[in-house]
Subunit: 327 residues, 2 copies
DNA sequence: CTGTTAGCGCGTTCAC
DNA sequence: GTGAACGCGCTAACAG
């Protein structure tokens, strides 16, 4: 079913149908009505492929997330997606996978679909392959990275100052009488590197020996295990900062299980102010990296850049400490 | 940049470029190499819009979820998406919103994109508007509903027998000496109606008075509140089944806070075997509706139906009870 | 093995 | 206010 079929049934030409479809002015009211009637009767829907081809624009916004099952990334994707949908775009969300290769591949896939803008959610997109893919295949459309940075003329960034956030956490704990503060990291990402760096800097400033687990499985179980390891190596630990809330949830559960009191014996601070931190028992204190604010900014930047392709912005937002039951 | 540009630079015709692009056999090795070189040098990527137009297929799979932030729906979407991506499809995930209107609207949007297949994740898609939209706009492509059913020739379904699951939970509690079993529901969905129906049937079979909260906010806070209401009305309650794990997490926290022992005083069973149930403290016993199995089945059915458009299947999977620390 | 031609479904001139 | 003709970028059929 094409506009020609509609045209024939309505006794008009295809261009008239096209005009009706696109709400163009300068059409006889009766003609318009008749065409509209046929369109509805036949449940006709115009091919976006054909439209995209002639209009040279797909009306689509690409949103890439390394793993859509990740709660705080999907929240960001959600926010951006909803905003664009409201503006009439068709925003398509894709799971880009964990490897750099597959992320770059997805950039290319979206390029073949001729998207109008691209949002990359998460610091792990910040890698050479993705940068290269953008340079090669999307050199001219607006791109924004949530929590990552590229030195490219068409890509903006909105970054949480996680180094500062972690430093604040260490300093808070230190000034509240914790002198053996540990840090537990899950995996190696640009974002986590900033957190660790913040931890090291603050520890050094306070003349504290760093007590750190640099990697563990990315779940509650992993947090528990890593906590055990940390305590085995540094039994004196009286506070732990976790690179991710979920780790802290597992860790606090483990500490409770072995008879520690929280926060009396050991204080705990997670990261991200995720739903997990709110519902865990005890409720987790956490470094709020303001991910929702980041996403909001991503959307706004992209919106502007779609109108003015020369628009690029690099923004940094400051995290805050949220105190609940573990500090 | 089009294949004509490539053709000119390579000194061949556009069809040769097209053949190279599509790995068609019967091309001189040298010619192929030269074309490939130019393609790489120029970072050319073929327009999918044009391809879709001529091939009459977009190579896209639509996946609709009412709210992508919902953890167990996104898990399903993830699984289906990954499978199709491996098969070379471009699977696009969209947030269809909570209203029936917007869900139907998204069906239409995907129709204009001429997707090859559609997966609807969640029982809330089971409504007249969506059914109508499928009939009108996607009457001929394979559709599958996870946890919902339509009487339409092209739509399959994979359904969790939640009625049975809830009955099992009631019966388990009853045979373990709980005689005042409550049920807490969040919102009105086809899926939740089945759970409540199961609860009512089992309660009646055991001659138990139904003790129920029919709606509450869809979060831990809401679960806590609803639990308080339930206890106010029925102080004798010695077990509670929650329509959703997260409600149970909030509920158990509330019960602990007011000094109840779990499961000694009150046993608790959630629903879905979600991550929340695993990490909560105490760890939640839960009705596992096997959502991952459902999604896997959705994928398999859709795969088959893409090849054989007459293929339709309606499958029911049985839930099981998972016992952890609250029973 | 390769080029020419036509057409996919739509939007957009430019006539009338 | 409306239609005819062309072109968007690509693939397929047919020649050669």
């Amino acid at each position: 079913m094409t506009i020609y079929d509609i045209a024939r049934q309505a006794g008009v030409s295809a261009s008239t149908v096209s005009r009706v479809l696109n709400n163009r002015p300068g059409i006889n009211g009766e003609t318009r009505k008749k065409v509209l009637r046929i369109i509805n009767e036949t449940n006709f829907s115009a091919s976006e492929a054909a439209r995209s081809l002639v209009n040279q624009t797909s009306n689509m916004i690409g949103i890439l997330v390394s793993d859509i099952r990740n709660q705080h990334h999907i929240e960001g994707a959600y926010m951006i997606s909803q905003h664009f949908v409201e503006k009439g775009y068709c925003s398509i969300l894709m799971n880009a996978g964990s490897s750099d290769e597959s992320k770059a591949e997805y950039v290319k896939i979206l390029a073949t679909r001729r998207i109008n803008a691209l949002a990359l959610i998460g610091s792990t997109f910040q890698c050479d392959l993705v940068k290269q893919a953008i340079e090669d295949y999307l050199p001219a459309i607006p791109v924004v990275v949530q929590n990552g940075y590229f030195d490219l003329p068409n890509v903006s960034s909105v970054i949480a100052d996680e180094l500062l956030g972690t430093m604040d956490a260490v300093n808070y704990l230190y000034t509240h009488n914790r002198k053996a503060i540990g840090f537990i990291n899950n995996n190696d990402t640009p974002s986590n590197r900033k957190k660790m760096k913040g931890y090291f800097i603050a520890a050094e400033e306070r003349n504290m020996k760093p007590r750190i687990i640099t990697s563990c499985p990315d779940d509650a179980e992993g947090g528990a295990m890593a906590t055990r390891h940390l305590l085995e190596e540094y039994p004196e630990v009286d506070a732990i900062i976790y690179a991710v809330d979920l780790l802290g949830v597992g860790g606090s559960r483990y500490l409770l299980d072995i008879g520690k009191k929280i926060p009396a014996d050991i204080a705990i601070i997670g990261t991200d102010n995720s739903p997990y931190s709110k519902i865990s028992n005890p409720r987790l204190s956490t470094i709020d990296n303001k991910l929702d604010e980041l996403s909001q900014d991503c959307y706004e930047i992209l919106s502007r850049a779609i109108i003015d392709p020369s628009y690029v912005e690099h923004k940094v937002v400051k995290p805050i400490l949220v105190h609940r039951e573990t500090t």
